[in-house]
Symmetry: C2
Subunit: 246 residues, 2 copies
């Protein structure tokens, strides 16, 4: 059974302000919930139409129609969990970092988290105006990777200024990422806002400006999708770093 | 002014059946509309709050509120155009092709069209059950590239069976795309459905099974996002083909 207060709480977690007031966020879908349970995240409460699927405390059995009432999805899943938002962990600067400036689209951020984990990136630092990583659409598209990749919101300009890292950025007119010889296992690669790219303030702090060259004879398309660019850049970094080791 | 019939027509173009009955589809946003006007696509009618932006016939001035009535977007743009769906063009098999099996997500297909154009892929062949490329969400996320990339819906199994092409496919357990030595400017790379990958029927027709290796020591995430995988694979094909030329 669902109490009125529980319904109210869950619905409120759609909004960033309420998530941080309550220090809680929602995860839907069995696979993702398993991954969060098996991580350092702390489960607050789990609602499920089949509680035998989970061997944890704080599980409440719900009917399908009750679950539909609290789900954020248009095709509601059979399980919905509330996890606690953890305290921030320090950024590990010995590994390659990804920096995101003013990223807006929650689906983009989710895909980026998943792709970062694939390529061994363990820390993402986001400018303070970037979309919140506990937004339900981010959680959904990150598919469990959010439980293992550390995401920190900070003043990105300050961070770049104060850290002695190799600072890479992606631009329309940089050096080809295929030809750039630097192979690094640490440093930071910065990606800008979906529509505007990296701001001029941040640009002045970048050491190496990289580009994915267009392999056609046209001036179209103007750009690649942000998460696709990130996937290609991380793929190139990984390939080169792996070649150096072998 | 908008007639009732125009409103009815435009709203109906949200649905595939109506698009093909009317042989028309909708493009929103000035940039994309410009790109379609400058392509081989034929404009049927353009609705705009500022008709001075366009030097074409068949332009109708609308108020902002009238445009909001017909837009498919949650943040309606100032311009909406109806273009004619062209007749199918033959597939050019002398260039690298992309094959898509049972792709479902319109946003994915849109991003894929844009990324294909970036890497010089001029033809995409889709299985008949794939999402329609004139779906408004595909048009939106393809950002004009749909006006230049040729998309053909066909029986993919028949196509792979009857054509003498190098047939590549992406799988979880294939050869590393970084280590595979084949560099080709033609052939076809096949990508499977978002959730299920390439079907066993199609798999039996693939010559080379490729994988993007995971660069972490974990068994997570299970997979990369489809359009990200495609971007990385096309990036590797382009890089190798370019190295061979130089």
């Amino acid at each position: 059974m669902l109490s009125k207060n529980e319904i109210k709480l869950i619905k409120s977690l759609k909004y960033k302000k309420q998530r941080y007031l309550n220090k809680m966020f929602v995860v839907e879908g069995k696979k993702s919930i398993y991954e969060f349970i098996n991580s350092k995240f702390v489960l607050h409460k789990l609602f499920s139409i089949d509680i035998s699927e989970f061997s944890v405390n704080n599980v409440v059995r719900l009917s399908k129609s009750e679950l539909e009432k609290i789900s954020f999805l248009s095709n509601p899943n059979d399980h919905l969990a509330i996890f606690k938002i953890p305290n921030e962990k320090p950024v590990n600067k010995n590994n390659l970092l990804v920096g995101l400036e003013s990223i807006n689209d929650p689906g983009n951020l989710g895909t980026i988290i998943r792709t970062c984990e694939w390529f061994g990136v363990e820390d993402i630092v986001c400018s303070l105006d970037s979309v919140d990583c506990y937004n339900p659409k981010v959680v959904q598209s990150a598919m469990g990777s959010l439980s293992r990749v550390n995401i920190t919101y900070l003043d990105l300009e300050n961070f770049l200024n104060s850290e002695s890292l190799n600072r890479f950025g992606t631009f329309i007119n940089g050096e080809s990422v295929y030809e750039n010889k630097i192979s690094t296992d640490n440093g930071i690669v910065v990606f800008g806002n979906e529509a505007n790219g990296i701001s001029s303030n941040l640009r002045s702090l970048i050491d190496v400006e990289l580009t994915i060259p267009r392999f056609n004879n046209k001036s179209y398309p103007e750009s690649l999708n942000l998460s696709n660019s990130l996937g290609i850049i991380l793929s190139e970094f990984s390939r080169k770093s792996n070649e150096k080791k072998n």
